[in-house]
């Protein structure tokens, strides 16, 4: 499209044709309803017909847009004190807190296991090659082959990472090891001591964090964390873990405009992406230690995620994730995104916040 300077003379011609009628201008109720897109189709068409010929009303729409935009005069962030003083909000918030604490207590063993993989990977490699391939395309294959016996012993180390001292394994193990090395090379996230502690850690981040791609994208078939968990546990725990892996394949699906490109949320904080309509999936770890609960993908490469503890994450290239600071440290349960700049998140107690600049600023919706 030609630049505006090149087209500047065209405005003269068009101005003469799009004359200002300026009569029968609707009142602020129609203007407000149009701006909110709550007019019905007939009313919208009628108002747009008037708008196209009325400079006065178009100026009002533009002024209303200025008042709504996040730039310029910033909307005051909801004061936590004012927010809490409204007693009508306290009851659902208290209920939500109770639910969150109960879920955390119930899931503590799961969280502990998720924190251990980097050490377990090193422990398992010298003793046993992964005997299973984990992936939704072959969930049955995730179970151990008949006759195979897990031989790895549970890790007894006091916490010192051993993988740096491990000699490069051979053949099949090489691929797993390279992925583990990639994960090790990037700063390994500190395992959250407590769920609350993790919230605190995330809440102090003032800028969006870039997650190293090396630590985030792995092939499902040779997933070191899954393989390590399997080999480090007894048969019963192994079966239970495998069931958990199987269940990972079936949680929240996020569609994109391209029917072949899909995302889905899995356990352990992982999300998976498919480019062939679900035939195969690649797993990613957007934010270590966090569990997304919902997502929205307005394009094939843009995906937003939200979750507990103020989790909001965004990728614009389908692989590199960044953490977006939330307006409030609440549990988010839903998100709708228009593109990589505009999104609306919903907390567990129904409050909504909207951004139009990729999360740099949030506005509480009434």
């Amino acid at each position: 499209m030609a630049s505006r300077d090149q087209e500047k003379p065209a405005a003269n011609l068009l101005r003469q044709s799009l004359r200002d009628s300026g009569d029968n201008c609707p009142g602020p109720d129609i203007l407000a309803a149009y701006f909110e897109r709550s007019l019905d189709k007939e009313e919208t068409a009628r108002y747009e017909e008037h708008l196209s010929r009325c400079v006065r009303c178009r100026g009002q729409v533009a002024a209303l847009d200025r008042a709504d935009a996040p730039g310029g005069a910033q909307p005051p962030q909801p004061s936590l004190g004012l927010w809490l003083r409204d007693w009508r909000r306290l009851t659902p918030v208290a209920a939500a807190l109770i639910v969150v604490v109960a879920v955390w207590i119930a899931r503590r063993p799961t969280l502990k296991q998720a924190a251990e993989p980097p050490q377990l990977v090193a422990m398992s490699q010298p003793e046993q090659a992964p005997t299973t391939s984990v992936g939704p395309e072959s969930p049955r294959e995730a179970r151990p082959a008949p006759g195979s016996t897990p031989t790895a012993k549970p890790a007894k180390t006091g916490g010192k990472p051993l993988f740096r001292d491990t000699a490069p394994p051979k053949s099949k193990e090489a691929e797993t090891d390279s992925l583990a090395a990639g994960a090790a090379a990037s700063p390994a996230p500190a395992p959250p001591a407590t769920f609350g502690g993790h919230l605190e850690q995330d809440a102090t981040a003032s800028n969006a964090e870039a997650i190293s791609p090396a630590s985030s994208s792995v092939e499902m078939k040779n997933h070191p964390a899954a393989a390590a968990r399997l080999s480090a546990q007894g048969p019963k725990e192994e079966a239970r873990a495998l069931e958990a892996v199987d269940r990972r394949s079936t949680t929240a699906m996020i569609s994109t405009p391209d029917p072949k490109v899909l995302w889905r949320i899995a356990d352990g904080g992982f999300v998976e992406r498919s480019q062939d309509g679900g035939a195969s999936w690649q797993a990613q770890l957007p934010v270590a230690g966090a569990q997304p609960t919902a997502g929205s993908a307005p394009s094939e490469t843009v995906c937003w995620l939200v979750g507990r503890g103020g989790l909001i994450a965004l990728t614009t290239n389908a692989k590199d994730w960044k953490r977006i600071p939330a307006a409030v440290p609440a549990d988010f349960v839903a998100i709708t995104a228009r593109d990589d700049s505009t999104a609306t998140v919903t907390t567990v107690d129904g409050h909504q916040f909207m951004t139009r600049d990729g999360g740099a600023h949030w506005k509480a919706l009434p």
């Binding site: 405005a11 017909e49 200025r66 910033q74």
Partner: protein
């Protein structure tokens, strides 16, 4: 702790509007909930509200959903009156049926409508709630809208009108009476601010235009001098003015055949000078979508103009090019570029595609 609006007086008496329960009203009666011009509820609307079971259910649902706090002292009758007023306002220009009215009632922001009712009635608890929840946003919006003017004054004047400082026939007149619940109260407040600000700007510009009339005259003299010099360089086509007039009329007709949305998009871009991002925000479209649709609309307009000149006016290719050249001199326009690039093809113009609706 009760916050009093700054510099405002407490109303001496609370204004309340009472209705006579659910009894049907006489055919010729009308409810005058508030003495606002053109806000009278027609007896037809009232009768339909009270006589139709479907609408009665819809009204009941609205009341349940609104659930105003007890301390607002808002009666069901007051709320139903507001619903009736809103419905009458919506359907004043069009025939309505129960189904349409029921569907309309479902879309209303009833909680905000209840708050507006209670504030209009002068309830202190409702007003305190409004001050706490909406006043900061009101001032923020005023700063965003009127940053170069006096935003504080803009917000204060609206605040006063909402509270209702004037009285008529013993009743306070509040701007809340004009809120009908078709949008959120916060958006409606911003819309009122926007309208007032724009009207103020236009008023001040009309004052300025009188002072600038001397400048306009000087510019016109310069234009005439330029035209005179141009004509001195060669003979002037006596049909020049006619070509331009026909081109202008053809363009106007082509723009008139566009959908209102496409025409509005053009107006935002070419007349108001909005950016693609701003237009996208107003339409709820991505910037790239706005660009693509603008380009498509421009091409559609160009094709319509060229086809109309050739087929309706029976102009030759040379005449079309000549008129566009004249247009370029008078109002340089990119249509000439497309014509020059297509001239070498020497092909008849294709039938223009109608700009597809959104």
């Amino acid at each position: 702790m009760r916050k009093q609006p700054a510099a405002f007086m407490q109303p001496s008496t609370a204004v309340s509007v009472s209705c006579e329960g659910m009894a049907p009203r006489p055919a010729n009666s009308s409810i005058e909930a508030n003495p606002a011009e053109s806000e009278r509820v027609s007896s037809e609307t009232v009768g339909r509200f009270l006589g139709s079971p479907a609408l009665s259910d819809a009204v009941e649902r609205c009341w349940s959903k609104a659930a105003p706090p007890r301390e607002w002292n808002l009666t069901r009758e007051q709320f139903v009156t507001a619903l009736e007023r809103s419905t009458a306002h919506r359907f004043k220009d069009a025939p309505s049926n129960d189904k349409a009215m029921e569907a309309y009632l479902k879309t209303l922001q009833v909680a905000d409508l209840a708050l507006a009712c209670a504030c209009s009635a002068g309830n202190p608890a409702a007003w305190e709630f409004f001050v706490t929840q909406f006043r900061p946003e009101l001032y923020r919006a005023a700063r965003a809208i009127a940053s170069d003017a006096n935003p504080r004054e803009l917000a204060d004047s609206l605040y006063a009108d909402l509270y209702g400082l004037s009285e008529s026939q013993g009743r306070r007149k509040s701007l809340f009476d004009y809120f009908h619940g078709q949008s959120k109260l916060s958006t409606w407040l911003r819309a009122v601010l926007a309208q007032r600000h724009v009207d103020e700007i236009r008023r001040s510009r009309r004052m300025q235009s009188l002072e600038d009339s001397a400048g306009a005259e000087r510019q016109e003299v310069a234009t005439r001098a330029t035209a005179a010099q141009a004509s001195a360089n060669g003979p002037v086509d006596p049909d020049r003015a006619r070509y331009l007039a026909i081109l202008q009329a053809t363009l106007t007709a082509a723009l008139g055949s566009l959908s209102s949305r496409d025409r509005l998009r053009l107006a935002y871009y070419y007349v108001d000078g909005r950016t693609l991002a701003e237009i996208g925000r107003l339409f709820g479209e991505h910037e790239a979508t706005v660009s693509r649709k603008l380009e498509r609309t421009r091409q559609a307009v160009r094709r319509r103009v060229e086809a109309a000149l050739r087929e309706e006016k029976k102009w030759t290719e040379a005449q079309v090019c000549l008129s566009l050249d004249y247009a370029r001199d008078e109002w340089p326009f990119d249509l000439t570029e497309s014509v020059r690039s297509e001239r070498s093809r020497l092909q008849p113009a294709a039938e223009p595609d109608a700009a597809s609706p959104d």
